[in-house]
Symmetry: C2
Subunit: 548 residues, 2 copies
Amino acid sequence: MEQKLKFWGWGYEGQGLDEQYIRQVETLAKALFGIAELPRLTPPTLASLELRSPRCQVPETLKSVCSTDKYDRALHSYGQSFYDAVRKLNNDFSNPPDVVAYPKSEQDIVDLYAWAADEGVTIIPFGGGTSVVGGVEPPQSDRPVVAMNLRRFDRVLEVDEQSLAARIQGGIYGPDLEAQLKPMGYTLRFFPQSFEFSTLGGWIATRAGGHFVMGPTHIDDLVESVRVVTPKGIIESRRLPGSGAGPSPDRMMIGSEGILGVITEAWVRIRRRTTRKWSASIHFSDYDAALEAVKDIAQSGLMPSNCRLLDAREAMLNGIAAGDCSVLVLAFESCGECCEDRFRQALNIAENAGGLPSIDVSAGDAKQGNESAESVGSKDEELATVGEDSSEQWKQSFLKMPYLREYLCARGIINETFETAMTWERLPEFIRSVRRATIEAIKEVTGRTGFVSCRLTHVYADGAAPYFTFLAYGDPERMIEQCEAIKTAAANRLIELGGTITHHHAVGRDHRPWYDQQRPDLFAQSLQAVKAQLDPDAILNPGVLIDP
Amino acid sequence: MEQKLKFWGWGYEGQGLDEQYIRQVETLAKALFGIAELPRLTPPTLASLELRSPRCQVPETLKSVCSTDKYDRALHSYGQSFYDAVRKLNNDFSNPPDVVAYPKSEQDIVDLYAWAADEGVTIIPFGGGTSVVGGVEPPQSDRPVVAMNLRRFDRVLEVDEQSLAARIQGGIYGPDLEAQLKPMGYTLRFFPQSFEFSTLGGWIATRAGGHFVMGPTHIDDLVESVRVVTPKGIIESRRLPGSGAGPSPDRMMIGSEGILGVITEAWVRIRRRTTRKWSASIHFSDYDAALEAVKDIAQSGLMPSNCRLLDAREAMLNGIAAGDCSVLVLAFESCGECCEDRFRQALNIAENAGGLPSIDVSAGDAKQGNESAESVGSKDEELATVGEDSSEQWKQSFLKMPYLREYLCARGIINETFETAMTWERLPEFIRSVRRATIEAIKEVTGRTGFVSCRLTHVYADGAAPYFTFLAYGDPERMIEQCEAIKTAAANRLIELGGTITHHHAVGRDHRPWYDQQRPDLFAQSLQAVKAQLDPDAILNPGVLIDP
């Protein structure tokens, strides 16, 4: 029997956190916020749900690819942000899409566009619906809304083993993509946290970032060419390993967040599955020294696959350390070549900066090779690149995070993340300042001390991407408004200090106020001009990136 | 005294090839084409030159930054393509720019735009004028033309040693840029063949490629942010190590070839100067085996700095081998870390594929370190990464090539290059087919057998960029038309087979017919829409990339 996604939370029905973990978190949260009891919100049931009647009639010719089923419409009402989680738990499905379309072919998409243009219908490309920035939410408007779900575009169409590239359909989910590549010995090696429930087309449309800290970890670098169905027709770029012919057409579509068209196919760069890994976790008592070590490794040319710095709170939150030190998770992996030498050099840099490698340093290929060969899930394999003891902890907590969100929401705990990027010379002060602004805002908004942690998710020779997590307990009835006030304070600060409003979460509707400050006005006008050209009837995803 | 650029050729007045080399080439050419004597065209003198009177009046307010001097106008009449070289030698300066502007400030550029809009003047951003694709040539039109030369924007404004980045003005030439970074121990490490006479802004505008075969060798990867003066105002992107906020504004400007604005500044990624190098040249009797070895190295994750395959003819042309084998120039370099292990692994791959390393394998740091520390010119340093014996040969011939063009033109010899890119699975047949089409076209057009060689200038995990050179001898009076016929045959073939019309030479006006086939029509329309937004009076570089 096919597993059914929860319409009100993360993952499949029946999936969630185990009892023991819940008790741990509950104890931690009570201690953190100094409260004796946490509230308990109960998730809605489908039976309890009443949705507004669809505001449009699906034409006969499109009925076979459209659904007005309650479950489908509820499932496509929201993404997966904290705001979304709260509204779902609150049984607030007041603005659902009127129709959910599951096109089977590009012609179906063309037909949907034609109907939308004729009838003034809005179409929202849904991807996997894991947007945490309001990217797939129906706008408040009188126009009927169709959520377009490409889950039927779920195949690896072609694998080029000579050039290590594959032609893959846009609606495929991470695990399906990996499962179809695996028997041939390949992987896309792209693992965002949303991996299980997000799609290739969604990754490209949102300029997503994968789990690896360096090298080709952005989807941008993995795209060889794209095929996009726009309301004006199809844009398909030529499949090339490199080109200098004018501005890149691919780069216009990468990050376009569904406002220009729907990505039905892409040629992407794949690799042979990793066979050898070297990893260690390194403890630092001095955070600034740890930052310096990460910078030196990032600038060394050694190119680790992981070099992820968790500050003391983040390490504690993930159960990797006790909260008294920050932890650097360092790893190298190869498709056959030996990385041991590079690994040792990077380890030296960290040790010279005052880092203490924990006992889990694992180098060489025998054990790692087997582990990799035997690992089943692609995410398992990827996460095995971190050191042994911390890897298990980290993996568990990485996978649990989205489930934790729905659990924490139901306990009235505000929990949100935001991420940015900054060049090294300003980074230490930038992290401190954004953290301070967040802490102060939590105190001011909720009246209680909150929790703010930070990890570096990606590093570059010229800077890094800090990723913040915050927890706060205020008025469980006003969680959205309180979270918004905290996030606004943090976003204001990071934009004021020259950061980006998003490093890999995209812009959507939620980040618009800061994106508008960040991007040059003339670029917005350029994007509007492109939009008017490709989507002249303004069918697609209004309000995302630019004004409708 | 300031050196003066030749208005009719490459480099400074007085610079050229030495007598001995000329005799060698002449002997070779006579043998190649089976002719006893070569014609001798004499370059024009400034005194012999008569230019059309300027077709516009420079307003009083702009006179201090404008020149209508004969030398200036002649110098800005052409780029550096073969067609340009022939027209210069033929004293054909029939369509010069009417004015050459040397703005000192962004306000000067704004004022020039305002005048151009009012008076229907065309402005052509000139960069260093090394375009080989008709990118800086005044179009045939009644509109007066101003060539805009940014040579006064020639400073490194800021160096961020923490983040390894520098803010640099767009009009700076390669050697000046390196000279200003060098005392601090840094380099941009970007060395296109035009390095000496091209500018940072020109590299960005044309999406140029540097000399290194892998890693960050495209200017695209070195740009942190750009500042562009468009006719509608300034676009300045935020300086960030990475961002996922909408489509990249930088990527809209990178490759825009002067049709949207002028790049006055950019933050670019610099690096510490290389201190350690490992290199070898490897001979292959079997070209397909050599291609296979290059593919395996490119897909190995070892990331060489050079892995340049010269086919037997190219190796002969460059004096590296006798024409009986192809040569792979392999090198690794570091900013301190040890690459010896990676170098040995790559060498193994090449040897296992049947390659024979020549005696010049140089590994380790002592000698290389000194060599690097003592090297003066940045290009010297860069070229020292190839093996010892072949490196000298290669370096000499790399630097001589542009001078060779003007010499060969003057001897009536058609000499041209073109470059493309292709994924590995089609590459061997692609190279053969394009080469065959070129050989056949030469025979058909000139009646004589010509010379066609190929090297791979850049390699990727998913493909490579073949760079072709051809020599032909036909009717010295009809060199342009004959060259055009040959290049058309080659371009038709490579576009038909799925290649790109340019990997790093840009599109300009010359490549338009094939670029138009290659890029999606809807992307052209999008670019036109952006152009209408940023340059509503259509002042800038008409005919390049899109129709005016």
